[in-house]
């Protein structure tokens, strides 16, 4: 288990988190394979965009 998940970089952890949460939300809220697939893609990209956006906004404060 530790070898599988323990060595994840921060970005890889973000990708894993976004994918698993998007999948769960899609199955909770949508019916049908195509609707779920669209929702997974949309939510996954939204997670990434928001995370990278917030990271970019916070970057000046780390200097």
């Amino acid at each position: 288990m530790n070898t599988l998940f323990g060595g994840l970089s921060h970005f890889q952890a973000l990708l894993l988190f976004a994918l698993l949460v998007s999948l769960t939300f899609a199955f909770l809220s949508k019916r049908g394979a195509s609707e779920r697939a669209k929702y997974v893609l949309w939510a996954f990209l939204a997670f990434l965009l928001v995370a990278v956006g917030i990271g970019w906004l916070m970057y000046p404060f780390s200097q």
């Binding site: 530790n2 952890a13 894993l16 988190f17 999948l23 769960t24």
Partner: protein, 134 residues
């Protein structure tokens, strides 16, 4: 739509709803498995289990009962949502938590998120068991 929901309502029972909810809490996805929702059961088990195991492998903290701090109590409520994974956490996380590093902090959030997601799936299993949802 309302008529369809009412018709579906007659197929479920309170006992079935509670049994599905408890089973789904103990093992993520088990409630849906009992209700023959195969794909949902598999996805919920893999997603909640994956998040919980990743959180523990990243050495996230698992909140215990009886915490004095309000945030720790909220953390406990989120963590206990993972059901069986909460009680097996010390077996999965052999190295213990390490929140001094960012990775451990991410792990703490991942494990709590797994618990919150599982509580949502438990609610859905209850609703399906009652016949209010398909």
């Amino acid at each position: 739509m309302d008529e369809a929901i009412k018709r579906e309502g007659s197929t479920g029972t309170l006992v079935m709803g509670i049994a599905a909810a408890v089973a789904g809490w103990v093992v993520p996805g088990l409630g849906h498995l009992l209700l023959r929702r195969w794909s949902k059961a598999a996805v919920y088990f893999l997603c909640v289990g994956g998040l919980a195991c990743a959180g523990l492998a990243m050495r996230g903290a698992v909140f215990a009962t009886g915490a004095e701090d309000m945030f720790d109590r909220l953390g406990f409520l989120a963590d206990i949502g993972t059901g069986g994974f909460y009680f097996l956490a010390h077996l999965i996380q052999t190295a213990g938590p390490d929140v001094a590093h960012a990775t451990g902090d991410y792990g703490t959030r991942m494990f709590a998120t797994a618990g919150m997601l599982n509580l949502l799936t438990v609610l859905e299993a209850y609703e399906i068991g009652r016949g209010r949802r398909t």
